[in-house]
Symmetry: C3
Subunit: 348 residues, 3 copies
């Protein structure tokens, strides 16, 4: 879209940067279409919305025609080399700044590696639960676990751009010290190496601790309505909150963002569902990509095409002028993220 | 849309008719986009679907170009005077008949004031809970409260066009006298001045009493499915019922309207969600506006533009002829409301 | 749509083949728009999406102009004769293979009658609950009921193309023998002639028995999420499962189809809602028609028009080439059904 500055992708994970055999490409693609394991006999994950989009937008970045057969594309990818292909794809994605969720497994690029590969800026978003899991590995008692977690969180706040929480539910009060201690005791006793932190009171304690740092907090919430009391209770505290809901809750997330001055909502790559339900200044783009470099490209293209289509419809019906359209696209594409995450003019 | 007679707006509240400073305009606009308080720094509620629509359709009614900057529009509004601006906007809305929910606060226009300001017809819809709240203020005992409520309801039925209820849930049986007495006793004891009536058994008692008058009853139901047993039980009683659901329940409301001969569904300003799911004769337009005269304009324009777009798509694909399109639009825009609310030919 | 082979309609019931008076035509049409009984005074079920579609696509199959008035169409229908009109409509529907749910009442065509009337192929899908109800009519004890049901199911598996279940909920374990016996005892004792089988443990027992035959099983599930544990537990068992959800759960059905290699989802006549949420190879068309021959025509036309529109949008935006569009349409229209239901090349 002409006149739209580079995107800020407010939520994604790292990309794979090793070589990808045909099988592992398909298995990464499976994840992107919500599947597990290989496609049923006679079908291919390339026959999906995401698959069509990859075939449309990625071959040209590797010097091929759009829509070339998947086998030809994968051959070209191997020919170029996975590392170089990843660079070409990421640099062609139109994304100028990545907010990467940290604590990603080592097979995925770190923020620093991503910045280099994509010739872009990349910042860390620290997920709260893995941070506490790491602390638990080295803490001998409930007291040291709670204290060390607070320190780790404080340390992370010095360099992180935002925190992220997986709390599916949170009410309007931080859990009391006694409740947190009992929950920590329960979890530490039952815990085996590699266990994820899902103890509800601890997850909520982490969330309230994250909010207390004043950094923005991303909320991965299947149903944002279950955070309604928490959103009300955090009004005026100083932290901005960004809802990243699961389908079909995008509309509700947008409405909650509309209702609270400090709450924002993720549009993902498909802004159609949120756009009518919140002021445009409360919405932020993300690709949600992970793994295949192709997915940052398709996430960004899906988003820009949808915005172009919406703006074309509105201007066609006279509802807005072309300048308003560009301005609104720019807000969702990067302007609001720059303000909420205090990114300054670095990505201009 | 050519050939569409003036709209009947089956649900709205009064408009503000005093002067509006810049701050109070923004705070009314906030309400219309689902927000509270001022927009976050760096954003404006004009950057929203409703804001774009105001900028598109309202400036021309005050002699300005569409899409002029908000500041210019507000300056012009003050120049014209709030009272005269309100008249120009309401008269330009394309709405010929308003069904206003009564019991509105005094800062909003009554039905009579609305009729004068808009040069239109305006009828009262009496909300049942506030009517009982007023009775409670002057009733000394449970018995007198119940008796006086029945009388007030009977009196209201003589002049009202319809009743409205906020019952979120209602089953298939009117609550028994003893249950109503106990609920009234509980509520009257606990009640402090200004308290809203939310005691479930009383709310359901009012609803069944409203239905017994034979007038149409509007049902403000977040989730219409919770009224399913009530809808079944009222078949053939003689009262028509009109569902006004909250998003995302419009489709379900339309399906319930399809299923029951005496049930109808509100389309609001966005008929796309209900239209495919009920016979067209079961759907009624409303703006749902309150406060800003601009919102009646945008509600009506959103509705007519959406109907135009839908009819254009259908005729483009050959699914209907242009006459059918006009006829269907006319049914939803006014024809069905005229029949359900027995408005005669007054608005033709 | 050029180049699309005859459709496979993976789910419908028989058509009426007797004469239809005006009243019974309206009452069949009522069922198709989700209504019961006659339309309210002043309205007609022809004023609905389905009604418009009938007026658009059916008159030409009987030698009339599209959009002719309903009265004229019904007169022509009587003139031609119901039997011959049914043949003309079914043969003009574009459906080459019907999968008819068996156990339909005698007023509806059987698979054999349908094949003759439509000059098409027709296969039986055996609904599990009615099969057990018939067994119950002739079984004297719990033991004989359970044994005879197993035999009837085995016999049905020899000729049926698939089974269908109405289990709204099913978890990850087949009910144990004792639980099945107790449920059967409870149901057989309470049962009166004509009672439907709704005893949950029996319904789940039938479903697990159906899956054990290896035939595909259609799952009529209002909310597919309530089958999630069952879908996980049946991975690798060998039976394919096809979800037929109620609105608004099509998206969730598509996501579950994406997630499990052996799970598929019905698109019904409106593929827009499922298409973005699953690989295209996991989706199957159905008309869902019952009764009026007109409904097979409108189901098929709705589907093909929607696919044409989607493919036109995608190719217009360059997201896919025309060949991919035809190929994807062909998969959903018939290719996947042919594979899942092992229909061979008969319908090519």
């Amino acid at each position: 879209m002409d006149g739209v500055p580079p995107l800020i992708d407010q939520y994604s994970h790292g990309a794979v940067h090793g070589e990808l055999g045909l099988g592992s490409f398909e298995s990464h693609l499976a994840g992107a279409v919500g599947a597990h394991g290989p496609a049923p006999a006679g079908t291919s994950y390339f026959d999906s919305f995401t698959g069509l989009a990859i075939r449309r937008w990625c071959p040209p970045l590797l010097g091929l025609e759009p829509h070339c057969p998947p086998a030809r594309y994968l051959a070209r990818r191997r020919e170029v080399g996975a590392y170089q292909a990843g660079r070409l794809l990421l640099r062609g994605s139109g994304i100028g700044t990545f907010l990467l969720e940290a604590g990603t497994p080592s097979e995925l690029t770190s923020a620093t590696e991503m910045a280099t590969a994509a010739e872009a800026r990349a910042h860390e978003v620290v997920r709260l639960e893995p941070l506490a899991e790491q602390v638990a590995d080295t803490s001998g008692s409930v007291d040291s676990f709670i204290g060390n977690t607070a320190e780790a969180l404080y340390a992370a706040a010095q360099h992180a751009t935002a925190f992220a929480s997986g709390a599916g539910y949170c009410d309007g009060h931080a859990p009391e010290a006694g409740e947190v201690r009992r929950a920590a005791d329960r979890w530490l006793r039952a815990r085996r190496p590699g266990d994820r932190l899902t103890e509800p009171a601890l997850v909520r304690h982490l969330l309230w601790s994250g909010v207390a740092t004043g950094l923005p907090v991303q909320l991965h919430c299947p149903d944002p309505q279950r955070l309604a009391a928490f959103l009300r209770a955090t009004t005026g505290i100083g932290s901005d909150l960004v809802l990243l809901p699961a389908a079909p809750h995008h509309r509700r997330a947008a409405q909650l963002a509309a209702a609270h001055a400090h709450v924002y909502a993720d549009t993902g790559p498909h802004p159609e569902e949120t756009l009518p339900h919140a002021p445009f200044g409360k919405l932020l783009f993300s690709s949600g990509a992970r793994g295949l470099p192709e997915l940052y490209v398709t996430g960004a293209r899906f988003f820009l095409r949808a915005m172009e289509r919406l703006v074309r419809e509105w201007t066609g019906e006279g509802v807005c002028g072309p300048e308003d359209g560009r301005r609104i696209t720019g807000m969702i594409a990067s302007g609001t993220a720059r303000r909420v995450y205090r990114l300054g003019a670095e990505t201009a």
